[in-house]
Structure formats: C-alpha cells, structure tokens
Symmetry: C2
Subunit: 467 residues, 2 copies
C-alpha cells in the first residue's frame, strides 16, 4: 500500500498544516543532499536537528524479486544471517551497542530491496557505520549458525503467513496476479523452497548483491552533510567492489487478458472477506502521472469513511462492515491497485462485490468531482505532514525511492506532482487500470479447510533488533 509513500515522500519537502486544514508547501525539511562515494555507493543526508539522534540506514538493491529460481526466501534469510557476526564484531555486538545506548535497530526485506537501520545517539554514528560496513564484506557464515536460523524463518512463515488466513489469501492473490514476474512470489518464500535454503545459497546471494556499488546509505538526524561525508568516506568509501553487482533482470510480465478468482476456505477465518488486486503501473514504470492519479483514485474510492466505497457499501447500502482501496506504487517493475470489503453480518459476500463493481463503474463512467479531487489531495498531503516526527520514516522514504528506480528529485517533487493531477487523469487511470482482465478477486470464506491467524502485509518483512 502507499501509506508509506504518502506518509514519507511528502515529508521530504515538508508542509505546514494551517488551522483550516489547508496545506502550504513551505519546506521544513531542508538541505537534503546526495552524493556518490568513489566505489559507487550513493549517500543521502537529511539534516534534522530536533534531537541529538541519528537514523543510519543501508539499503541494498536486492529483494525477493532478485532471487535465483528455486530459492524463494533467500533475500530474507540473508537479512537474518547478516546478524551472525564477522571476525571483528561477533554476533550480538551490534544489538549490544544499540541496547546500551538506548537505541533501536531493525532490518526488513521487500520484493525490491533489503534495508538495515539503527536509530541511536549521534555520537554512535561512526560506530554504526563501522559495524555496517564491516558486515557488508566480512560476514562469517557457518552451518552451525545458518541452519538454526533457517528454523527461525520457517517458524516465522508459519506464524505470519500459514497461521493467518488473510495473509494466505494475499499470498494467493500475488501468485495469481503475476504470471511470470517474480512479484508472484511471497517475500518470505514458499515453505518447500525455504526448507532447502542453505549456507551456500546465502553466500551466493551475499556475493551477488552486497557490495558498495549496489548499496545506498541514508543518514537522517542531527548531523551535517559534511560530517556524514567525512564519516561515510572513512567507513564505506574505503571498501572495494570485489565483484560487479548483478543487473536486476526480472522476468517481464505478459499483458493480462483474463479475470481471475481465488477462493480460500479456512475455518480459522472469523468472517468472509473480499480482496481484489489489479496490475497497475508503479511510480517507476508509469507515464504521464498515472501513478499519482492512481494514488488519488485510491484515496477517493477507498480512503477512510468519506470515501466512495465506505459511503456506498457501509453507510448507504449497509451491505459491508468495512470497505476500502489502496494503491501500491513502490515497485521497481509494477504496481497494483486493490479494493476490499467484508460483508455486514448475515449479508452475502456477493453483494459486497456487486457494490464494489458499481462504485468502480460509476467512476469510470462519470469520473470524480472537483471537491473529491481537492479533498483527496489535501488528505494525502496532510497525512504525510503528521508523519514528520518519524525520522526513520523520513529516511526510509529515500531508501525506498533510490532502490526502486526513483531519484531524490522524484521524492522532493512528489507533492507538486500530486497537486497537478486533474480529474480527467483520475477518470482515465480508473478506466485503464480497473479493467477486470487485469484483476484477481480473492474470497476468504470461513470454511471447511484445515490450514492455522496473525500477520500483516506479506509484501514486506520487518525484523526487530533481536534475531
């Protein structure tokens, strides 16, 4: 979903929310700078002097969509294994430093990138860089630390996916939405492949993608660009690329031609639910502002209780307990547009689908109103203003952009592009993208099948500091 993008990208420019709820575009986050180290590692610095802390993130342009055939889950597995230590810093040292300094750490794997971050007192930045640069090249993997960690990711899959019917449905949707592109795979991997992952697979992936020329450093916080540059050159600039990172060659997706459906019956599901995804362009693949138009379309159709879907299905027709929409535009190769709804008690789920189809048809035929358009723009921008407090979210917006085919400028100019979207563009995007041939409709039905109940969006996997 694009909550992340909405929240984050606008924060880069920064906006002031007036008392009347109107927003103005006066930047409060200023002086974002970017430069390249001699080894090809890109650096982004976002000064933020509100507190004496820094957020230090390293992103690799390598995610589950870059995995070799038959090794689904290796990107995420390696993320776990990156905490297994080096000759200089044994396993646990990073976590120990973070803990005694009252900081926090995290790592996450998505389809397109893998990120590592620490939020810590500003005087620990040099040490964080030293630790991160060290494990970029000197990770030590042995069967005795790899194989037990494999049990950890298998258990993670059981808990987050296999025990959660709605996650299982999402996984099935992705698998059916894409015919050829690796976005069809779950980030965590399919269980049968995960069981076969081993030390060699992890080292191969590490030696294919973990090198300075394939990495992005983002530092946000109480530092200046000059300070970061000096530290980055000392810690990261000295690293040599011992191999050329592999080009990100993903299988192209054929043009979709047939509406699809997935019916998952699971007696652990508390209530029925419908979710439909359409293949859509992403920010990296769209043309003529279609991604921004889809962002606004999702807001108008399904953002909150004033949206078209909520008003029609929940308030007016009373057929749904909830209904909404979101646009996922962060993919390097493709995005998706999703709608969802759950029937009100004792209502057939078919009426939810009929209601959603009617809302879509209305927008395709009649477009959106100027008032809806203006309100959606304000809401998108306002929502992002509230996220300004999160330094890590701010840093993450740049890491995401720079590993998914976008630039610092794309991030900075996003609010203007949102402002420029017209009602005609929204109507045209709806007509082109909300075509049943591009879609998979998933139904989760409390049913008679044995299968486990607990995780969020499987498209990204966050790991806490403790691995």
């Amino acid at each position: 979903m694009s909550a992340l993008r909405r929240l984050l990208l606008v924060t880069a420019l920064g906006l002031n929310l007036s008392l009347a709820g109107q927003v103005s575009a006066e930047p409060i986050i200023k002086n974002v700078s970017t430069f390249m180290l001699g080894n090809g590692m890109q650096v982004v610095v976002i000064p933020d002097h509100r507190a004496p802390v820094v957020t230090h993130m390293v992103y690799y342009k390598a995610g589950s969509a870059d995995e070799p055939m038959g090794e689904a889950g290796i990107a995420h597995f390696l993320e776990h294994l990156m905490f297994k230590g080096t000759p200089r810093y044994p396993a646990g040292e990073l976590d120990r430093v973070i803990r005694i300094n009252g900081g926090e750490g995290n790592a996450f794997t998505t389809r397109d990138y893998t990120g590592y971050y620490q939020r810590i007192a500003r005087d620990q930045l040099d040490l964080m860089m030293d630790l991160e640069a060290d494990r970029m090249q000197n990770l030590v993997l042995k069967d005795e630390n790899v194989l037990p960690e494999r049990d950890v990711i298998l258990e993670e899959r059981r808990e987050r996916i296999d025990n959660d019917p709605s996650s299982l449905l999402g996984e099935q949707l992705d698998s059916v939405l894409y015919h050829a592109h690796p976005y069809q795979k779950p980030v965590i991997g399919w269980m049968e492949e995960m069981k076969q992952l081993d030390r060699e697979d992890a080292i191969d992936f590490y030696r294919t993608f973990y090198t300075p020329a394939n990495a992005v450093l983002v530092v946000a916080g109480d530092v200046t660009a000059e300070e970061v540059k000096a530290l980055a050159e000392k810690r990261y600039g000295v690293l040599k690329n011992t191999f050329t990172p592999k080009p990100r060659l993903r299988t192209p997706e054929p043009e979709p031609i047939a509406a699809r459906r997935v019916i998952l019956k699971d007696n652990r599901a508390a209530s029925p639910m419908l979710q439909r995804a359409y293949v859509a362009p992403s920010y990296a693949t769209d043309s003529d502002g279609e991604a921004e138009a889809l962002e606004i379309l999702a807001e108008i159709m399904g953002g909150g209780t004033t949206s078209r879907l909520y008003r029609k299905l929940v308030v007016d027709d009373r057929v749904a307990a909830y209904s909404g929409a979101w646009y996922s535009g962060d993919g390097l190769d493709s995005g998706s547009f999703s709608v969802y709804g759950a029937p009100a008690p004792a209502v057939d789920i078919a009426r939810v689908e009929t209601g959603i189809d009617a809302v879509i048809e209305d927008i395709i035929t009649n477009g959106v109103t100027p008032e809806e358009l203006a309100r959606a723009k304000n809401r998108l921008i306002a929502a992002s203003v509230y996220s300004l407090d999160s330094q890590s979210a701010l840093a993450r917006s740049f890491g995401t952009a720079l590993t998914t085919g976008q630039t610092v400028e794309d991030v900075l100019e996003w609010p203007q592009r949102i402002e420029a979207v017209t009602a005609e563009q929204v109507k045209a995007a709806a007509a082109r993208v909300l075509d049943e041939r591009r879609s998979v409709t998933g139904l989760l039905l409390p049913g008679d099948n044995p299968s486990g109940a607990a995780a969020p969006n499987p498209a990204a996997l966050d790991s806490a500091t403790q691995h």
Copy 2:
C-alpha cells in the same frame, strides 16, 4: 493428456486384440534392449521388421521447465535453431537427405524434453546418426541465422496461441495452476520474453544441456540391437562430454490451498467452454499406483460417449454439447487431471459446471462399478493396440519415459500395473485429487475482449521438417 501414454506405452509390450474385444498380453514387440555408451548416453533399440525403415530419435533431458529465469521459450527456440547447420553439414542438408529418401523428420519441445527424429530407409541410419551427432556439438549460430528464426517463433506463438482463444485459456490455466513450479510457463514462451531471446541465450542453453550424458537415443525399426550398437558407438560413442549437464533443479510447487478461476472473454470464441485442471501426481511422482488409478478414472469419467460425464451431461441432462476428462501423467515433477465441457445451445455454462461437480461427487462418494473398471482397462489397452502400426509413436514412448523419470521397465510393465488397479484405488485417487483446492476452473466466454483462433495443446510443440 495421456492419449500418448495410453497409445504408446502399451505398444511396447504389445497385445493381441481378439475378435471379442478381449485383450491378451502376448508381446508382439519383443527384444527391447537398452544399454549405455561410455559417455553416458542411453540407447534403446526396438526391433520392428515389418518394413525396411527405421525411426531414429534423439531426446535431450531439457525442456521449457529447465529454462533460466526470464528466458521462457529458449528450449523451443533452440529446437528451431538446431536446423541451422554445422561446418560439415550446412543448413538444409538434413531436410534434403530426408526428402530425397522419401522419409520424414520432426522435432518437438515439451516441458521436460526436446526430441529430434527421422523416419527413413534403413540404409540411411548411419547418415542420420552422423548428422544428429554432429549437430549435438558443432552447431553454428550467428545473428544472421538466429534473429530471423526468432521472428518465426514469434509468428508461431501468434498463430498457435494468441489467435486461438482455447489455447489462451489453456495457457492461463497452467499459469494459475502452478504457483512456483516452471510448469506454469507456456512451452513456447511468453511473448515479451521471446522477443528478448538472442544468440547467446541459445548457445548457453545448448552448452548447458546438449551433451551425450544428457541425451537418449531411441532406434526402432528394421535393425538389430547389435547393428545399432555398432553404429551408435561409431557416431555417438566417440563424442566427449565437454561439460557436465546441469542438474534439473525445478522450483518445488507449494501444496495447493485455494480453488481458483480464470474467466477469459474473447469475441473470437465460437461458443462458451469450461475446462478445469487439478494438480495431480505423475507417473514419476506418484506412489502406490495412483497415476494408473487416475488414468482409469479419467477413462471412466470422461473417455468417450459411454463415460460418466458424457452420459450425464450430454445424453441424460442435455446441458452439454460435449464433456470429458483426461489425465496428464507424463511430467517429471507433476501431473494434472482435467475435466471439460461446453454447454448445449442456449444453456447456461453454470449448468455444465454443476453437472460436472455432481459426477465428481458421485464417484468420490460411491466409487466406480466393477463393470466400469473392467471396461476402462480394456479400452485403455485396446486403444494402445491400435497404435502398434506407428513406429514413431512406439519409439517416442521410450524417449518420453526415459526423459521424465521413468525406465524401460516402467514402460514394459505398464499394462500389468493398469490391470492391477482396484476400484478402491480409483475411488481413493478421485477423493484425494479431485479436491477443489487443487484446481483451477477456466471459463472461455464469447465476449467483448479483443485478443486474435487455431492451435492444439500448447504443452508440446511439434515442428515439421521444414523450419
């Protein structure tokens, strides 16, 4: 489909059809022998002295399921390119020899293997071996003969798949039936990937799989095992393996958990049609004779006008114009079981599906009768007897078996295994395999979508002699 298997495997043993339609298991194809050359190339000889002709086939254990990620179609493309000549034999020489001798040649690519064959006068066998052995190692590919051939396969895809709604539906079914395994890909490839195939991709595939240790030679016809052995050693035995053939590592398929549907609307479709596929074991992956039980189940459910589906849907209920079933058991890693039906004029296709579901439910609940079981066995075996005249079909049965995880003994013992299947096994196989969670149901509806009308089963691609 298993027509091939039915037709071919039994012919290996050979059976006499009595006037009463009863079959006996007296072999008329005798003395099948197999041996290995020193370089690891397996040879099978099937003496058949009815006419002074031979069928010469070379199979490679390489098909579309062995293709690298992002290169869908390269196995079939290389099959075409194998006719582009060598330093000793220029392009067209093989076809010329076949033509002037009144023979015939063919090549075909499937998911699991690629085969080349010639049927020709027996005195040309040595020359055929020389030509085939030569192009196994000395193929000359240049952009000037590769790139025009790519246009040929693109056009082949347009004609055989894109212009044929039922082929498009089949392709969509495969794509949705498998989540991770490469059987999800069409053998001919997805257009977008085919367009990017080039000389280097073809050479890489050739140098990965085309070597004696990865090949099987089958010779059927008016020759003795001794003659074939001498010729094979002279022509093939002298070849060195200049590389080790790559292991066939295919992505394992996760256990299916959700019923799926594909709705293809195409205004070129003459009438609506339903086809449903279930993931099933294959002969290579099954246990306890389940593949044979599924072969019989398909015959009872959907083999001809006395089958359950035809009687109920077409004769009794008059809801369908036709209806049937087949089992596809030849896959190295998986098989599938399919049912299909088209509504009678002015009947809703939903009634066809209801009828098919009722037939399935009845068999799962009540099993099959001893009479049905006996008749199915007789029909399967009798059908194969009629195919004895086809020397190439005979040879092909062994080539298929030896490149899909089976042995010469498996082929020879198939009739006994069919004979041994019990009604309980058929019922149990139906109950396990015909589970909606394992299925994709495809609907082809004459509709409003523009898309191109003409080809057979896309799971195998045969090429005529003229490329």
